[in-house]
């Protein structure tokens, strides 16, 4: 019986029991549904084992949307709890779990997955490639991410959620103050999904460097591809830091070491330091692809070229380097003194320069343009002023002496949501709407989409601007309650209303997806937005091999060049196309990694050893395996092309 005690929840409540039941019922329903409709084979063959970058992208997308709702529910619960003073909707323990999971889920399992989804889907198409450089590795990356996400979410019903904040500062996250296995989950979920992210990084760097269509020099790459390249460079160099940090945390918690403990020389400041050495670049990992999306959307819907292509590239490269040199600004108040803080204040503010450059370049793109107010463009237009406000409050926070007053307050919370929501979330929604016809062959309803946009942006302003004020009035972040005399009540109430509006906005988006699947017209053509870059030169939805003939490019706006200047993209005859085979091994490895992570969380050593051996055996098996891929014959290509209308060769 002792063995099973470890799985008990430390703070069980009716909500959690209800969720357990709900999860069990959902799983059973899914299994029955799949069996009844005989979809197991289809699901396994066509999706779970696919190496097609487009399908992997869509799997990331679905997971990201699921996680968005998990994290969103957490957010609403937090806002509801703090809406009025002395509220008892959640107790302190629950509130701590909720804000911890909100942070982790949103950053790692929603935002990261969303940008990787779009990178997966779009980048190979934008550079005219048939797939990524290592398709099987790509599938493994997805599975590692997915396993990490599932492991993390499991903590809710088995053993208890992590509750030391998404930053998980030691010694609070150490065994002395966080006794439940929650923080173990945190360590292993992030470790496993981080491994997947690192592989994605390597994969995409090689893809972008080596697989571009003939004629596409580095300085003729579409801006989203550039942003993906820079982002993946940051991923490759930032994630190993997280790996080591989490490993040290795991050792402290599970092997009794003293890296960050209170005794025997442990240094609690080291965790904070290392966490942010990774954590700050992570912020740019999220925001740079968003910048890339805006740089695609704004030229498309102002119907002109992006202003200052070279300076846009340069600013991203500078940001990528600077992002590794500013991490101390996350703990100016640790007492390193005026000199160190001055240095890091300065480097932090420097980032405002390349970022400002980008903002002005977008404005100058709009200047001589002709705007079409589509949903993606609305998000981009909402982004510019809102992100500017978020950006300048970032500069305010970078001023270390003033940061002593902002640090750990709602002002900070307002700031980072003010850059992440208009920056990253708006970009993801813009990208989703923009590339939706590319993915599925029909458009999302524009009218419903606009409703969602207004709800989300107005909701955003209501939810987060009051936090600047309550922060300056002394409301610390992560407080589960406050007394009425503090006067924070009114601001938090406005926040709650705003959060509610945002929730409605997201529900409208879901409704829009449902509505559009049912009613949207299916024959939208290959280029519904009158777009400019190469991904729109193939069919909607994209055939398995992407392009029947490899395109030849001589502009960063290849399709526009073809449409306006009569450049011929597709020259030469159809040839046999070589494509990789689907692979089941990543799925098996995913299961093994899940067992490994789960056993480690609960210190079940036989499980750890067996699954560990399994993982290495799979790698060895992979090395012996001969898989030379398959060939798609010319006839088959002709048939497919004819089915898509055959407009393009």
């Amino acid at each position: 019986m002792d063995f099973f005690n470890r799985f008990a929840i430390p703070n069980p409540t009716p909500t959690i029991y209800a969720s357990m039941v709900a999860i069990a019922l959902t799983v059973i329903a899914v299994i029955i549904g799949l069996t009844y409709f005989k979809k197991w084979g289809y699901l396994f063959r066509e999706w779970l084992t696919t190496v097609d970058h487009k399908r992997i992208g869509i799997m990331y997308l679905i997971s990201a949307l699921l996680m968005l709702f998990r994290g969103g529910v957490d957010a609403i619960m937090m806002r509801a709890q703090t809406a009025v003073p002395e509220n008892t909707f959640l107790n302190a323990a629950e509130y701590n779990e909720v804000f911890t999971t909100h942070g982790v889920v949103m950053i790692f399992f929603m935002a990261m997955a969303f940008i990787i989804a779009l990178m997966n889907f779009v980048v190979p198409l934008q550079i005219g490639a048939r797939d990524v450089a290592f398709p099987r590795l790509n599938l493994l990356s997805f599975w590692l991410y997915f396993v990490g996400a599932m492991l993390f979410n499991l903590s809710f019903v088995l053993g208890g959620s992590p509750n030391a904040g998404w930053t998980s500062y030691f010694p609070l996250a150490g065994t002395q103050f966080s006794e439940s296995v929650g923080t173990n989950y945190y360590m292993w979920a992030l470790q496993i999904s981080g491994l997947g992210t690192l592989m994605t990084g390597i994969n995409f760097i090689v893809t972008i460097l080596k697989m571009r269509a003939p004629g596409m020099t580095l300085m003729k790459m579409p801006m989203f591809t550039w942003s993906a390249l820079v982002t993946n460079i940051i991923i490759v160099f930032a994630f190993p830091v997280l790996t080591v940090t989490l490993l040290m945390g795991t050792f402290d918690r599970q092997f009794g070491t003293n890296f960050f403990t209170m005794t025997n020389g442990g240094d609690d400041m080291l965790w904070a330091n290392l966490f942010w050495v990774w954590g700050h670049p992570e912020v740019y990992i999220l925001i740079l692809p968003a910048f890339g999306i805006y740089s695609e959307v704004i030229p498309t819907f102002t119907q002109r070229n992006l202003y200052g292509y070279k300076s846009m590239v340069l600013s991203m490269v500078i940001i990528s380097l600077l992002s590794f040199m500013v991490w101390v600004h996350h703990f100016f108040t640790m007492g390193q003194g005026a000199l160190t803080n001055s240095i890091f204040s300065f480097t932090t503010m420097l980032i405002a320069i390349p970022t400002g450059m980008k903002i002005f370049n977008w404005l100058l793109t709009i200047r001589k343009g002709k705007i079409r107010f589509t949903v993606p463009m609305l998000y981009s237009l909402g982004f510019i002023p809102l992100f500017t406000i978020g950006g300048v409050t970032g500069v305010m926070l970078a001023m270390a002496s003033a940061d002593y007053q902002y640090h750990n307050t709602m002002f900070l919370v307002a700031h980072f949501h003010n850059v992440i929501i208009p920056g990253v979330v708006f970009a993801m929604l813009a990208g989703l709407t923009y590339w939706w016809p590319k993915m599925f062959g029909f458009m999302l309803n524009e009218k419903i989409g606009k409703w969602a946009f207004w709800f989300i942006s107005i909701g955003f302003c209501l939810a987060f601007f009051p936090m600047y004020i309550s922060g300056l009035d002394g409301q610390a972040r992560r407080m589960y309650t406050y007394s009425a005399e503090t006067g924070f009540g009114v601001w938090n109430m406005i926040s709650f209303i705003g959060a509610g509006m945002m929730a409605i906005g997201f529900i409208i988006i879901v409704y829009n997806i449902y509505y559009s699947i049912r009613y949207s017209p299916r024959n939208v053509g290959d280029d519904p937005w009158n777009a400019r870059s190469l991904e729109w030169a193939t069919h909607n939805p994209v055939p398995e091999y992407n392009f029947a003939v490899t395109p030849q490019v001589n502009s960063s706006e290849a399709l526009w060049d073809a449409k306006k200047n009569g450049h011929k993209l597709f020259k030469g005859e159809l040839k046999e196309i070589h494509m990789p085979n689907n692979s089941g091994l990543p799925v098996i490895m995913a299961v093994l990694f899940f067992v490994f992570g789960f056993s480690f969380v609960f210190s079940i050593w036989p499980g750890v050893i067996l699954s560990g051996v399994g993982i290495f055996s799979s790698m060895a098996y992979q090395s012996y395996m001969k898989d030379r891929g398959k060939h798609i014959s010319v006839e088959e290509i002709k048939e497919t092309e004819a089915k898509f209308g055959g407009g393009k060769k």
Binding site: A133, V206, V236, P240, N264, G265, L270, R628
Partner: protein, 198 residues
């Protein structure tokens, strides 16, 4: 599979070139991994708590032996790749096996070192310093251990299939890995051991 015969075998297909570049980028990530370990090591080196300091537990002889083993193995794997390029399969496999044997020698000494540390009362739990010492050495040691398994897998393939574009590619990538571990060891040797005993 298009094979380009103007290139060395390990570069002869597109996929081979992807793999080699991808591995180089992975090594970039590894630089950062060990960089983080070094950063932590330098921060924690004086955090010895009630445990011993580095100079009290380090011994020069095994460390020198480890260094010579690993340096030589880095040389021999280089020779193996050279033999591969001139098409000498037998010599290549011999050098490969010598490399792995030297790697095992290194690992043996390192394990002996670990036992000595524990014997002298410096376990991984003793202090922040011993923890980061074991973690840094252990991470490198784990890489070497993984390399031994990986290398053995490649040798079996070499024996079975001879030198072809696939085995050549794998061997070359393995050689990059092995040289890299040597580079990391040089930094551990200099900044953990020699600096600690200085």
């Amino acid at each position: 599979m298009k094979i380009n015969h103007s290139q060395p075998l390990e570069y002869s297909t597109e996929h081979n070139r992807f793999s080699i570049l991808g591995f180089w980028i992975f090594l970039g990530a590894e630089i950062m991994l060990f960089g983080t370990l070094f950063a932590s090591y330098f921060v924690l080196v004086d955090h010895t708590g009630n445990g011993p300091v580095g100079a009290e537990i380090f011994e020069i002889t095994p460390i020198l032996m480890e260094t010579i083993f690993l340096l030589t193995s880095s040389f021999t794997i280089g020779l193996a790749i050279h033999a591969m390029r001139v098409g000498k399969q037998k010599a290549m496999i011999t050098f490969f096996i010598i490399t792995l044997l030297l790697g095992m020698g290194f690992l043996g000494y390192e394990i002996y070192d670990f036992f000595m540390y524990v014997h002298e009362g410096a376990t991984i739990q003793t202090s922040a310093f011993t923890a980061i010492l074991f973690l840094t050495l252990g991470t490198h040691g784990a890489h070497v251990t993984f390399g031994l398994f990986w290398g053995s897998v490649i040798i079996t393939q070499l024996i079975k299939h001879g030198i072809n574009y696939e085995t050549a590619n794998k061997s070359f990538i393995f050689s990059l890995y092995w040289h890299f571990l040597d580079v990391v060891w040089i930094f551990i040797f200099s900044f953990v051991f020699l600096k600690g005993m200085m």
